[in-house]
Symmetry: C2
Subunit: 118 residues, 2 copies
Amino acid sequence: MAYEKKIPVDLDCPLRLTMSLIESKWKSCILDELRTGTPMRPSKIHKCLPEAAPRVLDIQLKEMVEDGLVEKTVFPELPPRSEYRISELGKTLLPIIDQMLNWGRTHYDIFEKKYGKQ
Amino acid sequence: MAYEKKIPVDLDCPLRLTMSLIESKWKSCILDELRTGTPMRPSKIHKCLPEAAPRVLDIQLKEMVEDGLVEKTVFPELPPRSEYRISELGKTLLPIIDQMLNWGRTHYDIFEKKYGKQ
DNA sequence: TCATATACCGAATTTTTATTCCATACTTGA
DNA sequence: TCAAGTATGGAATAAAAATTCGGTATATGA
């Protein structure tokens, strides 16, 4: 099987456990997009995160479903339709996402000066 | 130069900015080790994080100094001596680290059952 | 004398992630 | 009829991150 994580999550330490669930490039953004609880179709998620390659979002969504952070419903229709929604467990991560969002907003200037263009 | 990050931090969105500063495998753990503010010599840091390859810690410490999360003092002695300490900016990330630690402790069981050995 | 400790870094390799491209199979609207 | 949208995934490739190994130079203690 392609794209199977060798170590799904890191159980060695609680900090690494949490990090390993969200450290992939787009997972925190996916949680942020799904935060309201409203189900979202994958095409919508792709549109909301245009910087991310669709294939990557698919893979990360799949992992998040496996980890229990996100729930998926597939409607047996044609053309195919499916929905992703944040799980109760996933919601418990939102305060962390919030703090990271706030931190990023608060300290953006420092890094813009340091690493921004020109 | 070896090990230069292509994009030092991600300025596209505040969430990605914060994540990009700490998502490397050991950075959050390094911040946790340095949390009290007491300077630590690199050999001590290596001992506290024995799972991490020393070379990786060196590299990640260097990046964290560059990003301003950690400060470094080099004593011009032989044998060489140096110290790392968390910066004021780095300290502002500790509430996030704390929340991730708590989350990991609270939800450890779920993932132990799911992914733990036997 | 010799192993150990010190801090660091280059280089090569391995592992993990991310990206790109193509394919499926059916619907709708132009 | 034909392009575009729908969800998904295989496969190949590229890029990034982590790991391993070896080297620098000097001091200390056995």
